[in-house]
Structures are given as C-alpha cells and as structure tokens.
Symmetry: D2
Subunit: 319 residues, 4 copies
C-alpha cells in the first residue's frame, strides 16, 4: 500500500501527472480494437477515439489526463449507486430477499429458464434483472418523489448538483426496453418486484441516462474508497455498505469479463456501455475513466488497458 | 379404420352408448388422483369428481355420457383454434416466421435463456409464448374488430352462436398474467411480436376464458377430423390446415406429457387446465372430454384414462 | 387410405414405377443443398449425388428407383431396432425407467445441465444418450453373447442373414466417441445405466456401423408397418411394440427437425447420418431411402423431399 | 492493515491466543447446523462436532485453537495447489486456453448443455471440470512421474515431507467418480483435455485424497499470502501467480456460496468437502480451518463463521 500513499502524498505531483499522461498516450491505440455502442442513437454519436481519466483523493487533489470534459451517460455504473442506496435504506438482509449476491457467467441481459414452480432470484445486482429489482426499492410515496430521491442520491454521491438526465437517451432506452420490460414482469410474477412495473422501469431507464464526466465517476469511487470521506453534503454511505459494494463490483462489475479484469487489475470496478469505468482504491482514491470504444462484452477496451497499467505501475491491486 | 366406421355407422347406437357409459364409469375413480387448478378463483370452484364425454360424427349423431351439461373455460384448447385461424389467414410460411413447429420438453410456460444476440422463436404454437405470438396475428384495424374476428372464429368452429367469455376468469387471468406479459415483451424484443402488447395479451386472456361444454369441444374436433365437414356457417378450415393442426396436437398438445399420451392413445389431442380435452379421429369423429381433476402437468387425469380406453376399445390410434 | 391400397394392389406396377422414377428424378437436384457427414473418414467417402428408394409391401413386392445397390452404415436408424428389441424383451414399463418418451427440442447429442441432486432421464430413445441407455438393456451373459443377440435381431428385422459391421466405420466411431463416452458415464452416475460402460459403448458403436442398403431399411419398415407380417424367421415384434415404435419415430425420429418433417409428410420415420431414412405406412409398406447429402441437422436433404412428394402424391400421411 | 500487523507483531501472543480460543468456542454451536459429507465411506466417519484453526505467519509463529491434530482429506482445496503448479509451469496464457477465469453460478459439478458445434471451456479452475483440465497439465513422461511431480508440489507447498494419500478415500472416489469421468470425456471431445482420461482422473482422485491437517492448510495459505516467503525447499510460486490464485479463490473458491462469503469476510479462500477451508491475508498470514459439518453447498458451516468473526475482529478484509 506504500505506493498508493506515494501516489497521494507525494509532493511531486508532476511526477504522477507525467505517468498518467504516459499511460493514456500508450493505450490510446486500443480504442481501435472496439466499437461504440449502437443500440440507441444517443450512444452511436460517441467518438471512438476518446480516452480520458480522472483520479481524486480524499484531500480533493484531482489528477486528469486525456479527454476529461466530455459528458456521457452513466449507464450500468448507476447500478452501484442504486445498490448503495438500497443497502443504506433497507439493510443487507432485506435487499438479499430480492437479489442474490453471487457472480454469474450468464450475460448481463440473461433471462433464466424457469419452470412453473422454480423460483430463482436475479444472480446479483450488477445484471439488469438484479438492478431492476433494486430500483423497485427506491423510497417515495409518488413517482415524482422516488425520482427526486434517486436524483438526490446521485448528486450527493458525485457532489455534483448539476447532474442531469439526458432525455434523448432516456427516451431511446425506453423505446427499446422490451427485454428489460420482460425481465421486470418475470421478476414480478415471482414476487421479487413490488410496485408498478412501468414506473420502476422508467426510473431504471432514467438512472441509466444520467450524464456524467470522469470526475463525477471518480467522486463516486471516492465515496466507496474512503469511509471517512465526507463530501459537501455529509457522509453518503457507511463503511460496511462501501465494503459490500466494492466486493460486488470486484466479483461482477465488468459484465462477463469480471473475472479476467479482476485477475489483471485487482480493482473493484464497474463499467457502462456509455464508455465509463468507475473504480477505487480503498482508503486512497476514486477513479473515473472514459473510453466509448467497447469490446463485445460492453467494456471500454482502452479504458481497461489504462487501469491495467495503472494498477501494475502504482501497485493498486486489492488482493 | 373399420372399427371407426363401425362406431359411426352401426345401427345399434345402444351398443356404442353402453360402451361409453362403461368407460366413463370405469375411469371415474381416477378423478381422485389429481386436483383442480387453483391459480385463479374461477378454476378453483370446479368439482373434482366431474367426468363426461361427447362424441360427434359428420352425420351430426351425438353421443354423450357422464357430466355433459357443465360449462368450463376452454383455456389452452383455444390455442388450436387460434393456430387454425392464423394458418388460414396468413399461410404456413408466414406463421412459421413467428413460431417453430418442433415439440419441446420444456414446460408450457418456460422462458428460455437468451443471450444478447441469440434469437430463438417459441418452440411451437402449443406453449404459451407460441400462442401469444399467434394471437398477435389476428386481423383487424382496432382492438374491437380483432376481438370480434376472434370470437366469430370460435363460434364458427363450435357451430355455437351463444359462446361467451367468462369475465370473472378473464379478469383473474389478466391480473395474474405477469409471466405471460414477460413472455410477450421478450418476444417483442426479438421481433416475433408485432403490435401492442397489452392488447395482444388481452385477446390472449379472453380466448382462454371462453366458456365451452364437451359438445363445443367435440365440434372443434369434428372440424379438424373431417375436411369435408361443413358446419352451418360453411367450411371453417382447409384439409391441409386441418392436417397441420392435428399433427401439432399429436406432437405437443398435452403439455410435457404429449409423448406418453401419444404412445397410449395415438389420438391428436389438446388439453386445457379448465379440465377439457379435445381430440378427433380423421374422417370420423370429434371428441370432447371434461374432467377438471388435473395431474401435475395440467392434463385431466381421468380424461386421459377415458381416451386411452376409448382408443384401445374402438381401435382409434392414428399411427 | 384408398391410395395406399392402390399403391399395393394395382395391377399396373408400371404406373407406380413410373411415378417413383419421376419423384427420384425431380428431387435429385436437392442433393446439391447439403453435404455428406465428415466427422469420420468412412462417411466422408460417400457420393453426395446419390439418391435412391426401395418400397416393399407385405406380399413382398419390391419397387426400387435410383441408386439402390450401394451399402451404407445404418447409423441412428439402428436406434429403432434396439428400441423394438428392448420393448419386446423387457416391456414398456421397465424400459421407461431408463428413458423418457417425450420429444425434445435439444440436439441429438445434448448433455443437460444437471445439478448435484437433479436426476433427469434421457428425453427419449432417439437421442444418443437415450439410445445408449437402451443398448445397456441387451441381454446376454458375456459381451460376445450380447453382440450375437444384437446382430441376430438386426438380421431378423431385415430378413438379411448377410448383414455385417463395417469395421472401418466402427473403429472410427470408437476413436471419436468421447462425447458418447461422457453421456454414458453421466447416465451411469445417475443410475440409468447398468453394466460396463466400455462394453455398452462398443455395442453402441457396432450397431451404428452395420452396413445396409435401401431394401434392408424397407424391410425394417415393413416389420413396423404390418403387424401380421411374418418374415422368414417368424414374427419379429408385437402389434403394440410396433405402434409404440412408430409413434416414437413420428415424434422424434428426425433429430430436431422431427416436427417439421411430420407436418410435411405425416410419416413415422428415422434418419441416420449415413444418409438413410427408414419409414413405413401402417398395414401397407416399408420404405428405405438413401441420400448421403445431409442438412445441418443430419437428415438427408433430397431424401426428405422424396418422402414429401411420395406422401402427397400417394396420400400416405398417418394423421 | 494495521490490525494485521498487530496480529503478527504484537509481543502479546497470549492476547491473540485468547481471542482465537474465544472465536472457536463461540462458533462451535454452528457445527449442529450442517452434516458431514456422506457420498463415500471415508468422509462419513468424520466427527461432526470437530472445529479447529491454525494460523501461521512469515516468521513461522504458529497459533492453533480447537481440534488441530486430526488428519482429513484435502478434497477441493487441492485445486488451488494444482492451479498454482499449472500457472508456474505453463504460464497464464496457455492455462487460459484450457479453462476460463470467470466465476459461475452453476454448481461445482455442473455439466453444461453443449450443442454440436458450441465449444465452451470450463468456467474456472475451481469447479470440477476446470480442475480436471488443469490436472491434465501436470508434466511427466509417465504416470508415475506425473504422480511424483504432483506429490512433490504438495509437499513443497505444505513444507511437509510426510504428506500421504488416503488410499481408502482415493479408492472410494475412484469407484464413485462416474460424473467426473463424464466431464473428462466431454472436455476431451472438445479439445480441452490432452492425454489419457483414466490416468488424469486417477491423478485427480489422488490429489483430492491427500491427507492434511490445519497446519498444512495454513502453510499453503502462507505461500499464497507472502511472496517473499521461502519455505525450506525454496520459493514455491511467483508473486504474480500468487495474486492470480488469490483472486480466483476470492471469486469462486467457496462453490456457489463464493459471493456471499466474500461479502462477509473479504478473504480469498478455498473449501473442501473434507471440512477444510484454506485462506490467507496478503503479506501477513496463512490460515487453515477444519470443521467437517458442511452446509448444502459443501462448505464448513462453523468454519465459515469462524472466518467471518476473525476477519471482522482483526479487520482482515482484502477489499
């Protein structure tokens, strides 16, 4: 862990900056190996060549390199925020009645064969069906109240009051969301989903469509990394919840490439098809990466390479 | 086939009647081996002990035995009528783009694991997902027109103008139909379903809730058995469509007990959880059976035994 | 059924012969749409263009057309003979403890996910795992006795004392049979297979490697078609066993194309990757077809087309 | 990490000992909640009430508490040693051609449905099929040489020259190993297994039958924990291999309870149905636990509780 301390406490910030720039530069070529997501127009417009990183430490020192000012939709990285929220508000045991916490080697959008009497929870909160179950746990008397609570949580997590939903993307997600609708009704028929399916899916599509930049992701990471970290709005999550969420990210945060990514980086991370990867180093830093060129699993190709190099060169592996 | 001719042309109807009565009597004890469907209140009220049969031949001779005047909901037997309608109006090749025609050993309500890019049609029109896809093919400019067309078809098939939907059962089906809703959205997301999911499901729940008696079932069977049969409203289906539908019934008309039932009776049949079984003998008769005590697969326990005896004693096996 | 009688009793054999020749000629072009099996050298040598048919009736009248003198290995068509043998020697109920009788939409060589305590029989005797279970039921005190009993059965069924195993093919099957070995051990671990796995598989590979021609297949079909048929060695199977076997063939004799083939022909049939198809018409004829150009499911492309035309033109559909 | 240093460097060993004794005492009651493995006689004889722990640090300080002198078979914990060996001798990339490194939510003994042309590697080296593939990578010209190499590795890893195979258990494993045999042949048929299946399985059954005690397990853990640790026979594995193996243990070391266990302890661990759990804390200690009373997944019930308490009280979570 000495290296991390070094990363954070070194007076010579220039040294860190130089290393970051070099890592971004070196891995930019991997953007050629993937493709931007195309299932909705809003994602299709991304620039495949983009690559950037932001690192924030608890003293609010910020390092950035590459393309860092662009907004992109958070997509599946929102699953981490929602899981944190559900664990804080309902406790692990109740959340566990709705979703499992086991990694799966099925794709993120799998729908499992279920006979008449078999009842199977979603494997974990990082696959779509699990995240939809989690979304149904948002508190609020009305749809509007639930949406407000949800957005407030994202704003607290990112310490960014200006966070907004990209309505273009949201509308597209909604209009192509029949598979997620199928999952929601299946969950409901098995008692893993309470409430109105249309409302829950609407909140699900909205959360995926929140626009962030790499700094926002790094701030989410910092909340998960440092239990003593208190952002401007107070402490967001407890030490225990942070540890649970980091573990879930480590086990299944990178779709069906989670195992290999964990082997190569040792970093609890979560990716989204908007091109983002959010990760953290315990007691140290939060990290956001952006690279919309994806591999066939939906992970940023160059983004993963950047984190691999970063972990090796600064010795950041958790395990 | 001589025996069938005997069944139909024998002057001594009393002989046939005596045999039928004996078969019903002999198998009534099997009603104790099953249970009535309980997933909705409307079905729960059925009398487990009931058992009855009706046989109709092309000369409109009718034999009945046992409990024959009770109404029950047609349930999955409607799948046969809808398939016939779809084949008549769209032709086999187009229908085949929406559903497969292969028997399956998965349960009637199975939802198959589908990865991101795998596309798999429902196995056949006799499982729920296949029947929902078929329902989406009903012609009509409005929902009302579609419902009217559908009902007209059922009335023609049964030669019964008084056919009605049991609204109690329909409302129950609709309120417990989340699994079917899941299937419909999954089909839609893979391009196997056109149109409005809520409307299609509504028509699906309504068709399942049509009230029939054993004579109505026997009349449906007669339409499938005898291509020259013309009911009061004219010829309902073509010879080719009748053959296709009979084959589908033979292959997969009795849920995941279709194989065993085919071995034991050789009769192309379709069952419903309302307790009905509809079957036919080519060029000869249509048969309706009612026995609401079901086995764990959803087939009438005593009803199957009755058809086993009938097939053996009158040598009715198609194969 | 008049047409069948016509086929058999018509004095004008020349008329039948002309029709057969025309059907073979017309469908020969479909041999271009498939490919010969390549997984072992012995099958790879087949001539893709070959196409022939043989029809035998109970009066031992024989019609042939096309390529009829070539030998090929019986492959999966042997499953029908073995099932008949098992049913005759052990009865349906005992055989049913080892295999199911439900058609499946899984491929012929599927191995089903089985958790620790789930126990699932092979779906039916027409898929490899089912046929291996059936093979374990061959009676005999020694391996040699079992092989002799098995071969005697094939000779009786075909009324051909000269039937031989192609040792070249047998050795190839054995050396590439690891998947079948896997199935056998899986069956054994679940109690569906008694005896020595290596011996059972050896008998399985040998039965697949028996060399036949279209007349041999037609004779097998005749045994299944005509319960009163008595070949030179006496009656081979009972009426009931013949009916069961025909039903199983109808439900699942053409791999995962069984449903579509049944719709198009109405003929209970069994295919093998050697290019053969064996079928029958109850109380009438046995039919053998040879066409080694296969579709991706393992069925003879042109052979199926021939049977489609034959069924339509002579009105042979069972259902 | 301060607490870990405390555990190791505290002069007051008595304090640590007292805590360990208390943890063992407190959790002994959980032995009542499970049952010993019964699938072979050798395991059935275990005493359900037993519970013990051993902790070893790099200075060779050893703490023990509870039942620590009993021998038990290593069972699935051997998978970790074999994986380490394979990675050291063949490198990650080659090993990766034979097994995946993704956690799975299928049971340890699952056999996946594979169609004709689908090729799917075992999900990871911690399930049986993956471990069998790994076993095939043991170097040696003869079976005897392979066995000698394998045993030498276990002896180096445990620093215990007296390690022996329990031949009673080995023979039982072999005689009940048909499911593993099925897996091996399936792997071979897909090209994931080279060599003689019987030999590979024999080595697999032998490795599972090696007798260890909690100190042996703790020594294995120490090799994985401390890359600078050099046992009496020299350095066993590289820093990189140790990190990969720890990550695999974290992701999938506790059968299909790996996720929940990781959430609760944060310890990379591997369990066996002999009742052992082996775990480690990076740069600190190796830990062996013994408690043959298992839950339905095959993990020691009380053993897991002990590690939960230990992790919380000494703050050992890796993540």
């Amino acid at each position: 862990m000495n290296t991390v301390d070094y990363l954070l406490q070194d007076e010579n910030d220039l040294h860190i900056q130089a290393k970051l720039d070099e890592i971004i530069e070196r891995n930019r070529r991997y953007t050629k190996d993937g493709a931007v997501a195309t299932y909705i127009p809003g994602l299709r417009k991304a620039n495949r060549d983009d690559l950037g990183i932001c690192i924030v430490d608890k003293n609010k020192r910020i390092f950035t390199s590459g393309v860092c000012d662009k907004k992109f939709t958070i997509q599946s990285i929102s699953k981490v925020v929602l899981l944190s929220m559900a664990l804080m508000e309902h406790g692990f045991d109740y959340v566990h009645t709705k979703v499992g916490f086991e990694p799966s080697d099925n794709p993120f959008n799998s729908i499992v064969t279920i006979g008449n009497n078999d009842v199977k929870k979603p494997s974990n909160p990082m696959i779509n069906s699990g995240a939809i179950a989690i979304t149904s746990l948002i508190k609020g008397d009305t749809y509007e109240e639930k949406e407000a609570n949800m957005m407030a949580y994202f704003k607290k997590f990112t310490a960014n009051n200006d966070l907004k939903i990209n309505y273009n993307v949201y509308m597209s997600e909604r209009s192509t969301g029949d598979r997620n609708r199928a999952m929601a009704y299946l969950l409901k028929s098995h008692g893993f989903l309470d409430g109105n399916v249309d409302e829950i899916l609407d909140l699900y599509f909205k959360q995926c469509s929140i626009e962030v930049d790499v700094k926002d992701l790094a701030m989410i990471g910092l909340n998960l990394a440092d239990q003593e970290f208190i952002n401007d709005r107070g402490c967001v999550i407890s030490k225990d919840v942070a540890r649970i969420v980091r573990t879930v990210m480590f086990l299944c945060g990178m779709y069906d490439g989670s195992g290999e990514f964990a082997l190569k980086t040792g970093l609890p991370s979560k990716s989204g098809v908007g091109g983002g990867i959010m990760t953290c180093v315990s007691d140290a830093v939060g990290i956001g990466v952006f690279g919309p060129s994806l591999d066939e699993r939906g992970n940023s190709v160059a983004g993963m390479k950047v984190l691999e190099d970063l972990s090796r060169e600064f010795d950041l592996s958790a395990i």
